[in-house]
């Protein structure tokens, strides 16, 4: 059956008739308190899947916490089943004491929680007008993560002064591996076992993953089983054949930080809006630090105004922004640009082309996203070609 979403969009859905024809709720006793809460049968928010990933429905979310079961997924050999009672993390290589930690060991170390985003560096689609925020950049999500600082474990095993990189290895069928500079461990790397208040979900690395705040998602190796300290990178497939990109005549490698970016999630395709007051909403984030400003243009980039940021504004975190706008009913283009605490302003596609050449693409694309609002109120993505 067809019905209207709470924003007014027509969507296809399968709600049981029994639910829709429910009796007057003031005259029917409902189910008693339960062991586990439920989701309303009227809500149909899901990830958009491909063979290798599934994307967070950014246009359907509120605030900045992504529900754990809507966190984007990218894996290379599916989601492994790992028994937490058999789980062990090995740390070895250029260390004084190679050690093995069980999950219970990891949970007993001094712990830290932080809210930060993860984003796949391949998070960019640009093909056609009928793309949703989810399709354009749904490979980013945010959680409150809890775990132990990697520096705490490195202190425990005694990392040797000459160790400059470490290999992080997963226990999935891809035995995923990435080389990470040791400096990130002293900065803010974490070994996390919890997400949004509970154990990490299997899709996000249960029982333990590496978390490198602000860095391309693939480096936060999931289902972590081993760390090896080394004096050089390992040049794994995921840091040579993948996660590298053409910059003019060279190939850029070890491009870790996610540059500042933002997206307007309302109004956005497939919404249809009416003339009058509209609160433009979206999220902005930067892998280099805090968002200090988000600017909005409602005239196709000619003029820009500051949006309101939702407190608390956190380091390397999705930050909500809002901008109150009165739409007069004429066709126009709306867009947002993020500015981070390093002074970086989210670029246009043309600025990226100027910096990287026309062969860029695939990874670390963060151009301003523009939405065209037509006279009928329909909102369409504005794809831009660059080669």
């Amino acid at each position: 059956m067809l019905f209207k979403s709470s924003y007014g969009k027509m969507i296809q859905a399968a709600i049981p008739e029994s639910v829709l024809q429910s009796a007057d709720p003031t005259k029917t006793i409902g189910p008693p308190p339960g062991e586990i809460g439920t989701r309303s049968a009227f809500e149909h928010v899901v990830k958009k899947t491909s063979d290798i990933s599934s994307r967070t429905p950014l246009q359907d979310l509120y605030g900045v916490i992504t529900p754990s079961d809507l966190h984007y997924e990218r894996h290379h050999a599916g989601v492994p089943v790992i028994d937490p009672h058999k789980y062990e993390l090995l740390i070895h290589g250029m260390v004084n004491k190679p050690m093995v930690f069980t999950l219970a060991d990891l949970k007993r170390f001094p712990s830290v929680s932080r809210i930060c985003f993860l984003e796949c560096s391949g998070n960019f689609r640009n093909s056609k007008e009928t793309l949703t925020p989810q399709e354009i950049c749904g490979l980013t999500s945010q959680s409150e993560w809890t775990g132990v600082m990697l520096s705490t474990l490195f202190r425990e095993v005694g990392v040797q002064p000459k160790a400059s990189w470490f290999l992080a290895e997963g226990g999935d069928a891809a035995i995923m591996t990435r080389s990470i500079p040791v400096k990130k461990a002293w900065d803010d790397a974490m070994i996390v076992y919890a997400q949004n208040g509970e154990a990490i979900r299997p899709e996000q690395g249960y029982p333990v993953r590496l978390l490198l705040p602000g860095w391309e998602g693939n480096t936060s190796v999931k289902w972590l089983r081993r760390l090896e300290l080394s004096d050089q990178p390992y040049m794994t497939r995921e840091e040579t054949s993948k996660y590298t990109y053409a910059v003019k005549d060279s190939i850029r490698q070890f491009s870790f930080e996610m540059d500042a970016r933002s997206i307007i999630t309302f109004p956005a395709f497939p919404q249809q809006v009416a003339k009058g007051w509209i609160e433009i909403r979206g999220i902005a984030w930067s892998g280099w630090g805090k968002i200090v400003k988000v600017e909005i243009s409602t005239d196709a980039g000619k003029t820009w105004q500051a949006a309101r940021l939702q407190e608390p504004v956190l380091d390397k975190a999705h930050t909500g922004f809002r901008y109150l706008w009165q739409w007069n009913g004429d066709t126009t283009e709306i867009m947002s640009r993020a500015i981070d605490e390093t002074g970086y302003t989210q670029p246009t596609l043309q600025q990226l082309v100027n910096a990287r050449g026309t062969d860029m693409g695939g990874y670390h694309m963060n151009p301003i996203t523009a939405w065209v609002i037509q006279r009928d109120g329909k909102v369409l993505f504005k794809p831009e070609k660059w080669k």
Partner: protein, 169 residues
């Protein structure tokens, strides 16, 4: 600073020392300098037979037209000559030959990872390198020879030159 460690003990006494045996069991990585390569050897001729049996179904033989959609990416067809921006293959895009050994051993064949012997992986690596016009059919790949193979794309790779600040790079 996320944690003040001033009052911390020298050790929390958690975890246990790792034995050499358990390290060896997991320590399967291979570095560009050859560290981690196991004993054993293989060549392209042996590798071709294994490849046809265990890999070609997903990656193709290098002979089909490119418009057939296969489960795995093309590894070497046209690679040496192909435009890197259209088709990234081992011959035109991979900077280190050791990566082939490391990756194939840890995760291929996709549907049966961890089933190849080290000799098979050496042979497959030799076959892929030869089919990419990088080594001859006779060159034996082992712990000594593999790190010495120079990959055509190596010179293109540069470390990230972005840094904190306003510049778009």
């Amino acid at each position: 600073v996320l944690q003040d460690t001033a009052n911390w003990p020298a050790t929390f006494g958690l975890g246990r020392p790792a034995t050499q045996a358990e390290i060896a069991k997991l320590d399967i990585d291979v570095r560009p300098d050859g560290k981690g390569l196991p004993p054993g050897a293989g060549d392209a001729i042996t590798g071709k037979t294994i490849y046809m049996a265990k890999c070609a179904a997903c990656h193709g033989t290098g002979a089909e037209p490119m418009d057939v959609k296969l489960p795995g990416p093309a590894l070497m067809n046209d690679s040496a000559g192909a435009d890197r921006n259209k088709l990234k293959t081992i011959g035109n895009y991979w900077p280190y030959a050791t990566t082939i050994f490391d990756y194939v051993r840890r995760t291929m064949p996709y549907n049966a990872p961890g089933t190849l012997t080290d000799n098979e992986v050496y042979s497959l690596t030799a076959y892929i390198l030869h089919a990419s016009n990088i080594i001859t059919a006779q060159t034996v790949m082992n712990a000594a020879s593999l790190p010495k193979v120079t990959m055509p794309a190596k010179k293109l790779f540069v470390p990230d030159n972005r840094h904190a600040g306003p510049e778009v790079r």
